[in-house]
């Protein structure tokens, strides 16, 4: 079974709860799809890590010796990526989308498309199975492609190693990376917290997620911080027919566990919060 953890906005404790699920699962493929800011590996440091480069896309570069400064590329570019600096035409690699139109149209063939391959993909074994995570080189566009690559590696490994369960820590937001994460997973767990902004994010995430799939669960983290909003979340979930599988209280031990490099389950297996997470786990995996 393939399960993804999401949370509209980050910081709801999604990664910590996802990590707790991973340590309950025992033998699992853990996937960190937050390629912008992967950090599951901090709790599950892998051994024998294999590192591969990932080509995240292409960028145009202009060879000044061939450029006649005709300005066609600047005129054609839909991404405002061609700048004129000190009389020279240059490509702003942050804005370049890699569409290659300038490359195809440049009359003097002064433009070359080069691979951007600074992004990395990591795979290794950790105490509960295998972990896969990616790291996008700073400033690369997170278009969701990388996530598809990370996920297909996860599926390959799951077959190869005979490990059935895949648990994914998803990216923040509801854009393309979000969609690449939920496409084809069996179940989605949305972690939220009771704040006005949390509620807005939750609604947006669920709206998008429901257009993809049926099996969506919600976990309310730090539910005791604001009982009123917690109630609003309850009402909303009831209306949308979504099951809330755990109400987790605020507990400083979750942070203490993280500092110790452990999940809350490992740090204090008998705590109230650990028990609640275990119950949620049963619901997700047994139904």
């Amino acid at each position: 079974m393939e399960i993804a953890f999401l949370s509209g906005k980050g910081g709801t404790g999604k990664s910590s709860i996802c990590a707790a699920f991973i340590s309950i699962a025992k033998n699992v493929i853990a996937v960190d799809c937050d390629v912008d800011a992967a950090n599951l590996y901090l709790i599950f440091p892998p051994k024998n890590t294999i590192e591969t480069n990932y080509i995240s896309g292409k960028n145009a570069i202009i060879h000044q010796d061939k450029c006649t400064q005709c300005g066609l590329c600047k005129e054609l570019c839909q991404f405002d990526a061609i700048n004129i600096a000190e009389g020279k035409f240059e490509v702003d690699s942050i804005s370049c989308d890699g569409c290659a139109l300038c490359f195809r149209k440049c009359p003097t063939k002064a433009i070359e498309m080069v691979d951007s391959d600074d992004s990395k993909l990591y795979f290794g074994d950790f105490r509960n199975g295998s972990i896969i995570y990616g790291r996008l080189s700073p400033g690369e566009e997170n278009s969701g492609k990388f996530i598809s690559v990370v996920r297909s590696l996860a599926r390959e490994k799951s077959k190869e190693l005979g490990i059935e369960d895949i648990i994914i820590d998803g990216p923040p937001g509801i854009g393309c990376p979000f969609m690449s994460t939920i496409t084809g997973v069996d179940k989605v767990v949305v972690v939220t917290e009771p704040s006005m902004s949390g509620l807005v994010d939750l609604k947006r995430s669920i709206d998008v997620a429901q257009s993809f799939m049926q099996e969506i669960y919600v976990i309310i983290n730090k539910y005791d911080l604001n009982p009123e909003v917690t109630n609003q979340i309850k009402e909303y979930c009831l209306e949308k027919n979504i099951e809330i599988i755990a109400f987790l209280p605020f507990d400083k031990e979750v942070v203490d566990a993280m500092i110790n490099g452990q999940t809350i389950i490992e740090y204090n297996s008998e705590s109230d919060i650990s028990n609640r997470i275990r119950e949620a786990y049963q619901i997700v995996f047994k139904s």
């Binding site: 509209g8 906005k9 980050g10 910081g11 709801t12 990664s15 937050d34 912008d36 800011a37 950090n39 901090l42 709790i43 292409k58 054609l76 839909q78 991404f79 405002d80 942050i94 804005s95 989308d97 569409c99 290659a100 139109l101 195809r104 149209k105 996008l136 700073p138 400033g139 690369e140 566009e141 997170n142 278009s143 923040p172 937001g173 509801i174 854009g175 393309c176 969609m179 917290e193 009771p194 704040s195 006005m196 902004s197 949390g198 807005v200 994010d201 947006r204 709206d207 998008v208 257009s211 730090k222 911080l225 604001n226 009123e228 909003v229 400083k252 942070v255 993280m258 500092i259 490099g261």
Partner: protein, 289 residues
């Protein structure tokens, strides 16, 4: 002066800092504009009682293929780097796949048979809001299911810059990828909000790496201090990165935030703390310009 408020990951308190900072700048008598550039999940305006005054649609190029004029030569298909043209010549079937199209216009330029008409699709909007003191707020918002946040960030900042204010505070997208950089390159100073935890440190390192690569001046606010460990402090010290302030963890602050209220309006110590932060940031800005 343009100031971006950012963090490697969402939920570290970026919106908390932006909104309270805005209130403080204002109360210190500086005309300030708050721009929500976190277009995927904009929510800093929830903290104010606002009315929408206007909005501008942000659009992106889209081709429309006229199947009657198309001769199925496949040139557009070849030009499209994103495989956004679904082209089956054997069945005389051709169609643009909206969700894969990046709006680069290459297909239209490629077509020699006049079969592609230029059009556009709405990807989001930039809205202006006003409060009871007719103070203006700007918000960029990506339409659900759309992927191109960059054009919206760019136009939100552009529209906001047309208004004259002393300070522009931009609540940036979390992360270190394109949306964050697009906001960062357009600002004079960046405030990074970080948590003193192992996750927080790892995110912070990535943000710093990114900001160094684009040569921007920045400082760090440590949020929820007292909840984590000291490794973040060691890192900042070793790399000579200035700490603007530390905001202690408090359930009271968290509660006001969760209710959509500004802590500076309710807790005296927080108010004083934010005044100090504001003064530091403004001083920093002046040393730049």
């Amino acid at each position: 002066m343009k100031i971006a408020i950012a963090s490697g990951k969402g939920g570290t308190g970026k919106t908390f800092v932006s909104t309270n900072l805005f209130k403080t700048f204002e109360s210190l008598g500086h005309s300030t504009l708050l721009v929500d550039c976190d277009v995927e999940c904009p929510n800093s305006l929830l903290f104010f009682d606002l009315k929408k005054v206007s909005d501008t649609k942000v659009t992106e190029y889209r081709p429309i293929i006229d199947a009657d004029k198309c001769v199925y030569c496949g040139l557009c298909y070849e030009y499209c780097e994103y495989k956004a043209i679904f082209y089956v010549p054997e069945l005389k079937h051709i169609k643009v796949l909206d969700n894969l199209c990046h709006g680069c216009k290459a297909c239209s330029i490629a077509c020699k048979h006049g079969a592609i008409e230029d059009s556009s699709t709405e990807i989001g909007d930039v809205s202006f809001f006003s409060d009871s003191n007719s103070h203006i707020f700007v918000e960029g918002r990506l339409k659900e299911g759309k992927i191109a946040s960059i054009p919206i960030i760019k136009s939100a900042i552009k529209e906001a810059s047309l208004l004259s204010y002393e300070y522009l505070l931009m609540d940036s997208s979390p992360g270190t990828s394109c949306p964050f950089i697009q906001t960062a390159v357009r600002s004079d100073y960046i405030v990074l909000v970080a948590e003193p935890t192992p996750f927080g440190l790892s995110d912070l390192k990535q943000s710093v790496e990114t900001l160094n690569s684009i040569n921007k001046d920045y400082g760090v606010i440590i949020n929820r201090s007292g909840l984590g460990d000291i490794k973040v402090y060691d890192y900042l010290k070793d790399n000579e990165i200035p700490i603007i302030a530390e905001i202690p963890f408090s359930k009271e602050i968290a509660r006001y935030y969760s209710e959509g209220k500004l802590a500076v309006s309710h807790i005296e110590e927080v108010k004083i703390l934010f005044e100090e932060i504001s003064n530091k940031i403004m001083k920093n800005g002046n040393s730049i310009s």
